[in-house]
């Protein structure tokens, strides 16, 4: 057949970065590592990198959930509040019944998270509320519940049993448990998004919702599912957070939802839906972690951390938009020649 637009002939710099976003990110990360290690010798050590991994584990897990939701053209702003609410609730349970087995606490956190995620999913699918509004609402409601539930009190390290504290800090396979959990979540996410029917449907839904419906994909169920999955991951993350910081506070993870969006977007997830990979999001989280760590080591003020993060988001989105426009121009074909 005639091919005025050969399928794979475009080999411009643009399409290269469009297809190999991960490589560009890796290059950027390596560059950063070189620059920061020249500035602060303490940076390039095994302990420091273990620290970075610990610091980004929770971010990476939730960024994966966030990325998956953004792929469906949605967003979940309630992730941090969900995390905080679950952290607070399981901490209260532990305070009252310190002998509860850790595995039960983990399951409880996952269960609570899935309920909170289901509420988001129902508001969005049944209530037909746009995701950004629905989760903006539950962001406040869940955070409000944290206050309501705790009466403004904190759960302090002294209130938590040591077995539970070991959940995040203990080591297995030479890595902190928290990092292992994040790796497991990432592997599951990778298999789910690449090799499971429902995971692939997420991409189909995001890239063309109308066509997805026509193709027999149950779009409402898929939408509901991604918010429940997000709730589950946030629930798990809430338990890990309480264990790692040995505390639950009313302001736990306040504003954290924006970091998860940042990691996903920097990692190449398109706000227009349909595009995003697990390695990309992980690299996005890693990049944020390295910047935070590097700037802290260089004792640069928090303002610069935030400014750099904001700059990276804009860079990512502008380059995505440019790539999209390029692709669109090459695709536009007219009949009036």
């Amino acid at each position: 057949m005639t091919t005025d637009h050969p399928a794979t002939s475009k080999r411009s710099l643009f399409s290269f970065f469009a297809q190999y976003r991960e490589l560009a990110l890796i290059g950027f990360i390596l560059l950063l590592i070189v620059i920061i290690s020249l500035q602060s010798p303490g940076f390039l050590t095994f302990d420091n990198f273990q620290d970075i991994l610990l610091n980004i584990s929770i971010l990476a897990m939730i960024a994966l959930a966030q990325g998956m939701i953004i792929i469906t053209r949605g967003i979940d702003l309630s992730v941090a509040s969900t995390l905080a609410l679950v952290a607070m609730m399981v901490s209260f349970v532990l305070k009252a019944y310190p002998e509860t087995p850790v595995i039960l606490i983990v399951l409880l956190g996952i269960g609570l998270g899935s309920v909170l995620g289901s509420v988001n999913g129902l508001i969005i699918t049944v209530g037909k509320v746009p995701p950004i509004i629905a989760t903006l609402g539950t962001l406040s409601i869940y955070r409000g519940l944290v206050f309501f539930y705790s009466n403004g009190d904190w759960v302090n390290p002294i209130d938590l049993p040591s077995g539970f504290k070991q959940l995040a800090k203990g080591m297995s396979l030479g890595l902190p448990n928290l990092v292992v959990v994040a790796i497991i979540v990432a592997v599951i996410a990778y298999v789910f998004l690449n090799h499971i029917q429902a995971g692939r449907d997420i991409y189909a839904l995001g890239t063309n919702p109308e066509a997805a419906k026509i193709s027999g994909i149950r779009t409402q169920q898929v939408t509901f599912m991604v918010y429940v999955i997000s709730g589950i991951i946030c629930g798990l993350a809430g338990v890990m957070w309480a264990s790692r910081y040995e505390a639950a506070q009313t302001n736990t993870a306040l504003g954290f939802e924006l970091q998860t969006v940042a990691a996903a977007v920097i990692g190449g997830v398109s706000m227009l839906g349909g595009i995003g990979t697990v390695p990309g999001v992980l690299l996005g989280a890693l990049l944020l972690g390295i910047i935070q760590n590097g700037l802290t080591l260089s004792s640069i003020s928090q303002f610069w951390q935030l400014a750099v993060q904001g700059f990276l988001i804009l860079l990512a989105v502008i380059s995505d938009a440019t790539i999209q426009r390029r692709i669109k121009t090459t695709m536009t074909r007219g009949f009036a020649k």
């Binding site: 057949m1 005639t2 091919t3 005025d4 637009h5 399928a7 794979t8 475009k10 298999v191 690449n194 090799h195 499971i196 029917q197 692939r200 449907d201 991409y203 189909a204 995001g206 890239t207 063309n208 109308e210 066509a211 997805a212 419906k213 026509i214 193709s215 027999g216 994909i217 349909g274 595009i275 692709i327 695709m331 536009t332 074909r333 007219g334 009949f335 009036a336 020649k337």
Partner: protein, 496 residues
């Protein structure tokens, strides 16, 4: 070869009291390409959506091989072997070719894992059975429209489609691509697929179709064998009605040329469009949906300027790059989609009417609400807008009254050239007549009107001259006396 017959009898469907289909019948057989023909709004798309389960008919029955079937949604239709390739392609740009074909039904291995290898193998087999060779891992967004269409056909085949509906498959293809498509359509016909083929290009139907069913105004006209009909027959069947003298067109002596468009071209939209518009004249722009008429009007109004060509207003060459400039030159555009482009729905009537000339009511940055209100009241009264007060929100008005507000808004700018894009689409007959009266009055006052309309009776009834476009080019210009429905349809469906 399996014999399959899809029979539909007495299908009717209404939307909000408007009959989209009434008493339509259709019979499709294996190994047959059946054309579905009709003017814009004749009910073709609605019928297609009934066949594919998107809409459920109010009355009527559907039989597959003499068994009555119910098609509650596209899934059920697919289960019965009915697939459709829509005008708006349902391609997933970010998925690769193989996954586009198997989306929703990916082959799986034990444990629910997607069997990518089998998927690529089967996709390869399907595409080569169609004589297509592409890298299956290419994302669909990098394919041409024609290639994307082939992917959709492959998708339909992968569900063993016995009945394939193709809604305007050739509208975005080049001649070579159409030839490729027809080769595949013939292959499918030989394999025993029943194909319902919708196209506005009459000459194509003679090449590919065996039978033709014609719809008009939502009703069934006739089914014929393509051997026994001529192009003129088909046009007569599509157009049918006689135009009663229902249009209140006043005879106006056309004045001097006020707008002259020369060789206007915008790549991908329209090419070499030239025409003149005189004071007091209504110039009708006819053509099928997608012929490029709206694009031309938007180029003149500066919404999306042309690449080449010149526009003269009263003999002065003008360069208009945004609507603000167009308004300064005395142009006004009443857009096609009043809900999106014509009105700010949550705002009230006063705000909507005064929006284009707010500076007029503003002194030192302060808006004089009383003046604005007065002007809006006057304009709305003149247009006989039926509303409780001028503070009523635009979204609470009926379609016809919304259109009157849009007209009032633009007339309040005192335009010399008024462009109306589908001025009466979707409004009731009574309001339609009022709009027609108003157009005639405005022309009598010396305003030049460019009217885009897909309704032939309206074009014939209201225009002094009629310009016909087809695929971005002007294919005919008729005076009021020489224009007939047949001539316009011919020019609108045939390339020059």
């Amino acid at each position: 070869m399996n014999e399959n017959t899809l029979r539909m009898t007495n299908i009717s469907k209404s939307f909000a009291g408007v009959h989209a289909l009434h008493g339509v019948q259709l019979e499709l057989h294996s190994g047959e390409v059946h054309a579905l023909l009709g003017e814009n709004g004749a009910g073709k798309s609605t019928l297609v959506k009934v066949i594919t389960g998107v809409h459920q008919p109010d009355t009527g029955e559907i039989y597959l091989n003499d068994q009555r079937i119910h098609l509650g949604d596209p899934r059920e239709a697919a289960a019965q072997g009915i697939s459709a390739i829509y005008q708006e392609l349902s391609i997933f740009p970010d998925l690769d070719i193989a996954e586009n074909i198997f989306v929703g039904r990916r082959p799986t291995r034990a444990g629910g894992l997607v069997d990518w290898r089998r998927m690529y193998r089967e996709a390869e087999a399907l595409l080569s059975s169609l004589g297509i060779h592409l890298n299956l891992k290419t994302k669909a967004r990098y394919l041409s429209i024609a290639q994307q269409q082939m992917i959709e056909i492959a998708r339909a085949l992968s569900v063993n489609a016995r009945i394939l509906v193709m809604d305007e498959p050739t509208s975005a293809l080049t001649l070579n691509e159409v030839a490729d498509l027809f080769r595949i359509v013939r292959r499918l016909r030989e394999a025993g697929t029943a194909i319902l083929f919708i196209s506005h290009r009459l000459e194509e139907l003679f090449e590919i179709a065996d039978k033709v069913t014609v719809l008009r105004d939502g009703g069934y006209v006739d089914t014929r064998s393509m051997d026994g009909v001529t192009q003129e027959d088909l046009i007569r069947m599509m157009v049918g009605r006689t135009i009663k003298d229902m249009f209140p067109k006043k005879e106006v002596e056309a004045g001097e040329v006020i707008l002259r468009v020369k060789n206007l071209t915008r790549k991908g939209s329209f090419k070499d469009v030239s025409f003149e518009l005189r004071k007091g004249e209504i110039l009708g722009m006819a053509g099928l949906v997608g012929a490029g008429r709206t694009e031309v009007s938007q180029a003149i109004f500066g919404v999306a300027p042309a690449d080449e060509g010149t526009i003269e207003i009263e003999g002065q060459s003008v360069h208009i790059t945004n609507p603000g400039q167009a308004m300064q030159h005395g142009l006004a555009l009443v857009p096609e989609d009043r809900q999106h482009h014509g009105l700010v729905l949550p705002m009230d009537i006063t705000d909507n009417i005064t929006l284009p000339r707010l500076t007029h009511f503003t002194s030192r940055g302060w808006l004089n609400v009383k003046d604005a209100h007065g002007a809006a009241y006057q304009a709305a009264t003149q247009m006989q807008v039926k509303a409780t007060t001028v503070w009523q929100k635009a979204r609470e008005l009926s379609g016809g009254n919304q259109q009157k507000v849009v007209l009032a808004k633009w007339l309040s700018t005192n335009p010399r050239i008024l462009i109306l894009d589908e001025p009466t689409r979707g409004i009731d007959i009574g309001t339609k007549a009022e709009v027609h009266h108003l157009m005639s009055d405005l022309a009598a006052q010396g305003i030049a009107i460019l009217m885009i309309s897909s309704e032939l009776p309206e074009v014939l009834g209201m225009s002094d001259r009629i310009l016909v476009m087809h695929e971005g080019q002007v294919t005919g210009l008729f005076s009021r006396s020489e224009a007939t429905q047949e001539k316009i349809m011919l020019a609108a469906t045939q390339a020059v």
